[in-house]
């Protein structure tokens, strides 16, 4: 990208950036604002709450109606991510490095799964899970999450693996490594930024999922946080629990922000520098 030089360009880029960031942030800030408003002030159109309250947070965090789904979300998300990244890195390595029969079929299938409308699968999966006894269990969500996380993982990781000089692997083999050792000790550490990126993407997909979470669960024993918010109840049948929902939304957004900020540097840092002539 060309470096920004003239003041005019700086102003131009600056205002464009500002517009984009404002568009993205205003709904989030609105949500934060709502979460601090008292139930009576929910319909108050002012952006900054007239009176601040922790009531909404107190309400959701004091019942297992939200805490238990939050634990489910974290557990299911982490397990699904771990499985997806491990499987995807092996598959991606094969796709990037090896020639094998059916390789193009594999890539095609992965793409097919990635673009398949998930809503179309809900009914068949629901029936399958019920007959297998997976309905309303952690595996009942982990398995479909892994299935949909894999194509994403294979695509991103194979791009990363292709970037790693093949000679490193040859060098490891000549140094006496088995193919598995070469992968674990040389290739995988170098692909770590790619794996972190993939893990973040897969985790986000699991964390944000609503469709499967609402369809394949029936109690808080396996319901995840986004689905649990749907079951929040107001103080009366006719009250919409806007405040608690906003507070819950803020709570489930925070881990994502921390996650991305924490790994941002690793994603950006190209670990492969210095591998070959530079």
């Amino acid at each position: 990208m060309a470096a920004v030089t003239t003041p005019r360009q700086k102003v131009g880029w600056g205002s464009a950036n500002f517009v984009v960031i404002a568009l993205a942030l205003i709904p989030v800030l609105w949500m934060v604002s709502l979460s601090f408003k008292t139930p009576a002030a929910i319909l108050d159109p002012s952006f900054i709450p007239a009176s601040w309250t922790w009531g909404n947070y107190h309400q959701i965090l004091s019942t297992s109606q939200f805490l238990r789904p939050l634990i489910n979300s974290i557990g299911i998300g982490l397990i699904a991510t771990l499985i997806a990244v491990v499987l995807a890195s092996m598959a991606a390595y094969a796709v990037a490095r090896l020639r094998f029969p059916g390789k193009s079929v594999l890539i095609g299938m992965a793409l097919l799964i990635a673009i398949f409308p998930q809503i179309a699968l809900v009914t068949p999966l629901f029936n399958i899970e019920r007959s297998l006894g997976l309905f309303n269990t952690w595996p009942g969500l982990i398995i479909p999450y892994v299935a949909f996380g894999l194509p994403l993982g294979i695509y991103t990781l194979s791009a990363f693996f292709r970037e790693i000089p093949w000679e490193l692997e040859k060098a490891a083999k000549v140094d006496g490594a088995t193919p598995f050792q070469a992968f674990i000790r040389v290739i995988a550490p170098l692909a770590a930024p790619g794996m972190v990126t993939t893990a973040i993407l897969v985790f986000l997909a699991c964390w944000n999922d609503f469709l499967f979470a609402i369809s394949f669960t029936s109690t808080i024993s396996s319901r995840t946080a986004p689905a649990a918010m749907e079951y929040f109840s107001g103080s009366s049948q006719f009250t919409v629990p806007t405040g608690p929902i906003a507070a819950a939304a803020v709570v489930i957004t925070i881990p994502i922000i921390i996650f991305v900020l924490f790994f941002q540097r690793r994603i950006v840092a190209g670990l492969t520098s210095g591998a070959v002539k530079g």
Partner: protein, 441 residues
């Protein structure tokens, strides 16, 4: 320490292309063998097959007497230095060098001791805890070498290890590689496309072209007695000059002048059935400023006039370049390939540029119409169809013999300077006929 035997080794890729064809070479224990050739000649594939990184389609590869065709690289006890060095970027120099030992489950204190010993040899002690990214090109190259030598392997394989260094460092490192090999006495197979590297480093050099070994011999042998056009053109810098020649009534007519051939060569040419056209090869140092050639020596070659296009002085020598018409043209697939490799495929004009190396004492200058002399004794004569060096045929002793018996000279040049030593020369000069130069045939 081990000898490496390549016995009819062939590599055919899945797409059917033949990368290495029937490669035979016995590499003795402790020998330094160079595989050299233009890019795509199969030299790196051969090295990868020795390393076990490529499968062998057919033939047998033995390292230390063991057939290793189906052994994985780790079971072959060989170390390799890659063109890109292939250092592990996430490991320090120490870890890089000790990686193989660590995989072999060597105790950590032994690893440390060996790594430090290798680092001392290669002057890497201050850099042991750095990452490859923080090293210069030369240091990275030494780490790559260090990674190979800590293992004390049966053989070293080197795949163009110096090609990423700048010119000065390359020469310096070349000497270091040579010294290291002598010191360790380990068998080494070294791949390069640089013929200077090949000639200076190798005990033996195998010149490859399109997957076939053209000639495997000592550097001197390759230079003096190339078996074919390709080897002749590849070895030597500046390259050998090639001219078309025609045999007529016992004379070899070229655009420089006429040479008289011995009966043996004439018979050889006739037997080869290629007709009367041949390709003549003359190295730049076979030329000399005629004024600097003693009368005694003049008769071994011919004198001709040429307009000097370019004059380059290197201090110790002078290179001059002049152009000759190609005549019927030197058409040979091998020469075309050489030209392509040198990046001058499209420069073929009406004439061929001839390079001549003259003594620094010459007074010839650029643009001058100079009188030059060319020594006919080391001349090579090639069959244009097969590329075979006809002047080597049936000749068991050294390069082309040097005699020009007076009774065979035809023109009226004074014969007083005829050598007293009699002998049957392969090529003789026909003095007087090369001046002024006739157009080729």
């Amino acid at each position: 320490m081990a000898e490496i035997v390549l016995d009819h080794v062939t590599k055919r890729f899945p797409d059917g292309s033949l990368a290495v064809n029937d490669f035979n070479l016995d590499i003795a224990d402790g020998e330094f063998v160079i595989l050299v050739g233009p890019s795509g000649c199969g030299k790196s594939t051969t090295l990868n097959m020795i390393a076990g990184l490529e499968d062998i389609t057919s033939g047998e590869l033995r390292i230390g007497g063991r057939v290793v065709n189906n052994k994985s690289p780790k079971d072959r006890d060989i170390a390799m230095v890659f063109q890109s060095y292939a250092l592990y970027p996430h490991m320090s120099v120490r870890q890089n060098m000790g990686f193989a030992l660590k995989l072999a489950k060597t105790p950590p204190d032994v690893i440390n001791q060996k790594v430090e010993e290798a680092a001392r040899i290669l002057d890497l002690i201050p850099y042991l805890d750095r990452k490859p990214a923080n090293l210069s090109g030369g240091q990275r190259q030494r780490v790559a070498m260090g990674r190979a030598i800590v293992r004390d392997p049966a053989a070293f394989l080197m795949d163009e290890p110096l090609s990423n260094l700048d010119a000065k460092l390359r020469v310096q490192t070349r000497t270091e590689v040579s010294r290291l090999q002598r010191r360790l006495g380990t068998t080494m197979v070294y791949v390069t496309h640089d013929q200077t590297e090949a000639l200076t480093l190798g005990d033996r050099v195998a010149v490859m072209r399109t997957g076939v070994v053209q000639q495997a011999a000592s550097p001197k042998e390759l230079y003096d007695r190339p078996v074919n056009l390709f080897v002749a053109g590849f070895i030597g810098s500046p390259a050998m000059n090639f001219l078309s020649g025609t045999l007529e009534e016992g004379l070899l007519r070229t655009s420089l002048g006429d040479f008289q051939l011995s009966d043996r060569i004439r018979q050889e040419v006739e037997r080869s059935g290629t007709g009367r056209d041949v390709i003549v090869g003359l190295r730049p140092e076979n030329f000399e400023d005629a004024a600097l050639v003693s009368p005694d020596n003049r008769q071994y070659g011919i004198t001709f006039r040429a307009k000097i296009d370019v004059y380059e002085s290197l201090g110790s020598d002078v290179f001059v370049y002049f152009t000759r018409e190609l005549g019927r043209g030197v058409n040979s697939a091998e020469l075309e390939e050489l030209a392509q490799d040198a990046g001058r495929a499209d420069s073929a004009g009406a004439g061929e540029t001839i390079a001549a190396r003259l003594d620094a004492a010459t007074s010839i200058g650029e643009g001058q119409d100079a009188e030059l002399w060319v020594d006919a004794r080391p001349m090579h004569i090639f069959d244009p169809a097969s590329g075979r060096n006809l002047s080597l045929a049936g000749d068991d002793g050294g390069a082309i013999s040097i005699q020009a018996p007076p009774d065979r000279t035809e023109a009226g040049e004074p014969q007083a300077a005829a050598p007293d030593a009699a002998g049957s020369g392969d090529v003789q000069a026909v003095p007087g006929q090369g001046d002024p130069p006739p157009a080729a045939t």
